[in-house]
Subunit: 773 residues, 2 copies
């Protein structure tokens, strides 16, 4: 029964929000075996117990179950996993206080089953000379599972463009400009691009500006396999991407449900007409494997592509347009091409071309036939709650998405396996009565992340006010293990210290003499003016479900994983990412045999979670924002100072604002130290914690970036400008640079500066003693 | 020394925010004579003490001082009053914990002193036949004070239009449409309008749409004096508006500094070019007194105006265009007109007409010469703080503006007199060590309100995050006494109960056997489905400084005053409003002799302030919002239901959302009762209070009304639609009504419904038990 959700009776009744039973809110349990003192603080013994109980083998078994079958968003298996999560979180011995689902009706994009997408080389007489694979090679049986979704570019519009092939490198604006400057007429061509450099959707957006009619995207073995491309060098013989592997993905440029921006996608919600929705690729686009890309690319004519456009397919990459007369698709070979009836599988085969070309082209062309369909589907989040003993209205949210493109063993099930193990261990302590956190913990399994962080975004839209007011932090563990070398953490400055504290107390997998922290610092580090050499935290883009939390709600967020030794591989991501080869067997054999890296991530995330939920004083070090502000300020002064001076725009107010922030943060730090030495009353701690929790919110300005959907954090909005400083300032300067003095673009620079100064002044005001204004 | 602020050394040092000394934040005083228990609750004895000490005579003396001289925003006297307030709030025996100023650089509009505005009747040959007064008659010496600002329409653009006069009633859209339908060519005319009906600026906006070149505005004695218009019937012989009185006012359509929307108007802030600023009247506009209006209006030719356009000037009001041939300005009288040199005072006098008319008009015309200037000026807010003993990070803000148009005895000094008396009584208790509130109290004296709530709006922009997070409620007392009949309160539903509680315990002035509440219910009442007959609370528009607090920040707000017996007067406001006759003498003799109404307002506002700042449980009854929601819902169902059904738009989700709100509010009410019976710990109370405080915030949606600057409260945004329901829905339906099915206007109706449903669902979510989602 596809799309029909079978919920337990108890959950079904919680129609209001899809959330299940709520265990007695009015009476916070006291006495008995549950501590409820207002001074309840992090218990090192509990922390140690939790660390000890997080079990690598259970994580492995979770992963086996979660990745047993393909479970793309809204598929029957996705819904079955909703039930699995509910069952775990409602388990009487290891479950949470409550669990339930929250369902949205969202716009997804799927390839047509009746009319498969296909990519063909078409000879001058209209014959099909070559057809790309429509599915990945069945190497380990997993690839022939019934629900394996054919490779496609989600949200790419249907269409059957045909034209001469050009090679456009990564499909960036600069790449197309290069082709244009080379004198190549891009009008009505098909552009073959490689993954990397710019976002998926951007390749088609950039291409369309030059009149390109269709886009192909492939993964170059130079970018993913450290150059290896032969079948016996790749999975199942190594972790490498097999020649037939294709990276699927969303080509939607924003995030959230495309039809209901800023509103939860409830059934009754106002929806844009999908023809009016923005952010979809403008032209048909299709991803292919490097096996097929090689056939196309190695037969191109034209000038040789620049050196940094070359890859590892074993031939010289030319620019096109069109194929070499001496290659596979020369005109004299087209006579032998035979049209065969389409059965959707046989290769090569012919399909009617619509509309039929009125005059046959002189050389072979490439036809990209995309038949993707937009469909409204129900997608669920699963939410599980442990009620806080002392401050139930303060939430620490820990989430990951559930949906995958195919089996999704690494992405996202490696994260969900860890999530389930953490919730099991905490749930068991809870049910035994051994422990209850000071604050509430919310576990979340988001739906439809792969299509654009949809489940998490709709959740933030639905509970906007409440989450903003009450959420202490958001922890995201999506892909928990890319590789086994080191921890990698991304986050905003206030979470740095709690991650450091956790990482210092956990042994590094495989290097048990070192802590995760000591191992980490060997791979990613930076010199902090305050702390000296420390592991470096990455910044948060929009790569996973933390995006709506940090950019839209202004909640301090982090993303944790174990990852590569970059001296050993240059793969842009783990090789089978978004392919039918991302399977349990792949993880078990190549990604993390023994699952000790999974366990390390579980311990790190679990420790961070406990520290955030249990510590009397919130372990958010807001003064760590000073380093960011100074680094951004310095970059602005060094790289934009002269330019701004020429326009009589002063950075002085920004300097002052940063200084005010410093002063307020330092004074607050002293206040915290003083309080920690004494015996503060519960309200004093609460007030202080509110200052710490809410600092991140002060950086939001919903009017700062009107063209960037959801982005309102003035420090972490997307930066397109070249200077690594405050994004609004950097982008505005970039745009103004070639305009005249007094232009609207220069006015926007001034506006962005004022927005920034107001935000930093507001941030400082929030950190100052609370009875000051 | 104009514009130079002389601050005390201590205050001057608090450069950061212009706020002065902050008394020891880190150590909340304990023991000694200041109670600091976390259970600190409202003390009835303190309340009684405060009520007893609020002194009518001191209020009178405050008023005498405050209204001694004209003190328009940014004038020397305005700055002197800044010092007066600082001095009071820094008084060692009756001052507050801290006080300081916060200065903004804002765009104001003033008439030119060198080129006075003037309004003349110009005969066919260009001679000046009549000139309106340029200043009010000197009846009580106050009117000849050096700083009396000539009447003008602030922000009306300069220009010297001349044309035939038409009478356009109140200048509403309907009024101009009526003239148009009467076949009157409005192109290049001057429209004479009366105050009332629509906002000041709207008269010019509506006029300009019909090609009108200039607008005059006067106050009809029928609208302000219950028809009385003779000198001996008006001030100084009664409270009536003298014939020469002119209502000044801001004609800016938005509020806040016009050049820095959404940003604090700090000196470094980005400013719009004033040519690009929006919201100014499009055509020259000038207000005049009814003495002059009578000369113009009673000489108009054309059809008689409709009955409800007629007024009390003692003649038939005709529509124009142009003057009667048999009246004062007939063509044959123009020969006798003598051009006299302009000295700015002599009447009548001639001014060169620019450009000179190429062909002389057949009848006399009216020339409106406006020479207003836009100027950047410094304007200060004064802020005084009493630090809360237990929850210093929770603010109760009590404010009023300081600036007036002339002496401003009623508006705003009647409110400031009360403000100063309340702060004196509380300050005295504070300095004696008798009392310190549980929460912080912030007293505010706003600058430049008359120009468009500028000081308060800039304050909310500067401290946006912090105020939203921490403010319990905003109390506004602007004009404290319009008249002596009854209390009048405006506010959002959560403040109803605390006003009722206060009003029940205070005797009504002049009717000491009745409480203010019992007296009030006789004048304004409604039948509540929950409580039966209760005094009716008005809603909050944008008439005073509460506007940015409720509409922009979503802070529960109220405005309190004593006002008229509507059975005794139909005056649209107190007669000398915004004129040079609004003086101490006027208040002392006619508005509130004995100042007992001032005292009653001081007691009511003081009691509300103490209840909000001292009560353990916040006295905000959120369930009172249910009545509003049901009333809006019912209006929507009855008046829009059929229309919406025809468009297949269901109100079902809205009904469900209102029900959810009801349920959550009721359950929360039971929870509060249960807690109040027990001995709740301080954090339980804090969590509950946070729910109550933050409810109002959940109704905000910054994307709901993109064209309405600052308005984001989905229940209280301006309603232009005719149905008294949710404003977004009402307005959208109004616009969609005459469009076809499937139009963008109908899509907007659906969007507004979804915004509303999401807000109500979010509100309900905030009221539910805190560990539920």
């Amino acid at each position: 029964m596809p799309w029909v959700k079978v919920l337990g009776g108890v959950v079904g009744a919680a129609a209001l929000l899809g959330l299940g039973i709520i265990l007695g809110h009015f009476a916070i349990p006291k006495g008995a075996n549950q501590p409820a003192s207002q001074e309840l603080d992090l218990d090192p013994e509990i922390l140690e117990t939790v660390m000890g109980q997080l079990d690598a083998n259970r994580i492995r078994e979770n992963l086996r179950e979660l990745s047993k079958e393909p479970h793309v968003a809204s598929s029957p298996r996705d819904e079955a996993l909703v039930q699995l999560l509910l069952q775990r979180w409602q388990d009487p011995d290891s479950g949470l206080d409550s669990a339930g689902t929250s369902e949205y009706e969202v716009l997804l994009s799927f390839p047509s089953q009746e009319q498969p997408n296909h990519v063909d080389v078409v000879g001058p007489s209209g014959d099909i000379l070559f057809t790309c694979r429509r599915s990945e090679e069945n190497l380990t049986k997993d690839q022939e599972a019934p629900d394996v979704l054919s490779p496609y570019a989600a949200y790419a519009p249907p269409g059957t463009p045909q034209g001469l092939l050009v090679y456009a490198n990564q499909g960036s604006e600069e790449d197309f400009l290069y082709l244009y400057n080379e004198g190549i007429n891009l009008q009505d061509t098909i552009a073959l691009t490689r993954y990397g450099g710019v976002g998926r959707g951007a390749k088609a957006v950039n291409a369309a500006k030059y009149g390109v009619a269709g886009v192909l995207v492939y993964t170059d073995p130079g970018d993913i396999n450290d150059g290896k491309s032969l079948p016996n060098e790749t999975y199942p013989h190594s972790w490498g991407l097999p020649p037939s592997g294709v990276e699927r993905g969303s080509y939607f440029e924003y995030f959230g449900d495309p039809l209901t921006p800023y509103l939860p996608a409830n059934p009754s919600s106002f929806r844009l007409d999908s023809a009016n929705a923005s952010g979809f690729p403008p032209i048909p686009t299709q991803p292919i494997g490097f096996e097929d890309a090689k056939v196309l690319l190695c037969n191109l004519q034209g000038n040789s592509a620049p050196e940094d456009w070359q890859g590892a397919l074993g031939c010289e990459y030319n620019l096109g347009p069109g194929f070499r007369p001496d290659g596979n698709f020369s005109a004299d070979r087209t006579a032998s091409a035979v049209a065969v009836p389409s059965d959707g599988n046989t290769l090569p085969h012919a399909l009617p071309l619509l509309p039929a070309p009125t005059s046959l082209p002189a050389t072979s062309q490439v036809n990209v036939s995309v038949h993707n369909r937009l469909v409204l589907r129900n997608s669920s989040n699963v939410l599980g709650i442990i009620r806080g003993a002392v401050e139930p209205d303060r939430y620490v949210i820990y989430g990951n998405h559930r949906d995958s493109w195919v089996h999704g063993a690494v992405d996202p099930s490696s994260g969900t396996s860890v999530l389930l193990e953490i919730s099991r261990v905490l749930g068991t302590l809870l049910k035994k009565g051994t422990w209850r956190p000071r604050r509430s913990i919310v576990f979340a399994s988001w739906g439809a992340e792969e299509f654009g962080l949809i489940g998490s975004t709709e959740f933030t839209e639905e509970f906007f006010s409440k989450l903003q007011e009450r959420t202490v932090a958001y922890i995201n563990v999506d892909i928990s293990v890319f590789a086994n070398a080191t921890l990698r953490a991304q986050g905003t400055p206030p979470v740095q210290s709690v991650i450091f504290s956790a990482a210092k107390q956990i042994p590094a997998p495989g290097r048990s003499s070192l802590s995760i922290y000591d191992n980490w610092i060997q791979y990613f580090n930076r010199s902090s003016p305050v702390y000296g050499l420390v592991p470096s935290l990455g910044t948060l883009g929009a790569g996973s479900d933390y995006a709506p939390f940090i950019h839209f709600l202004g909640i301090s967020s982090m993303d944790l994983a174990y990852t590569y030794d970059r001296s050993k591989t240059s793969a842009r991501i783990y090789p089978t990412y978004h392919t039918a080869f991302d399977t349990f067997d792949y993880v078990d054999k190549f990604v993390d045999p023994g699952f000790s890296s999974h366990q390390a991530v579980a311990r790190t995330a679990g420790s961070v979670l406990l520290r955030l939920s249990d510590s009397l004083f919130l372990p958010l070090n807001v003064s760590d924002y000073s380093e960011t502000l100074h680094s951004f300020l310095q970059a602005a002064q060094q790289n934009l100072g002269t330019l701004l001076e020429q326009q009589s725009i002063s950075l002085g107010p920004l300097v002052t604002a940063v200084e005010k922030f410093d002063e307020a943060a330092t004074a607050l730090g002293q206040h915290i130290s003083a309080l920690q030495k004494g015996t503060p009353d519960p309200l004093q701690v609460r007030m202080l914690n509110d200052q710490l929790m809410l600092l991140e919110r002060t950086f939001l300005n919903s009017r700062a970036f009107p063209d960037e959907r959801y982005y309102s954090h003035v420090l972490w909005a997307p930066r397109t400008g070249s200077v690594a400083t405050f994004p609004g300032l950097s982008n505005a300067c970039s745009r103004a640079m070639n305009t005249t003095s007094g232009s609207a673009a220069w006015a926007e620079v001034q506006r962005q500066l004022s927005i920034l100064v107001a935000a930093l002044e507001g941030a400082a005001a929030t950190l100052r003693p609370v009875a000051e204004l």
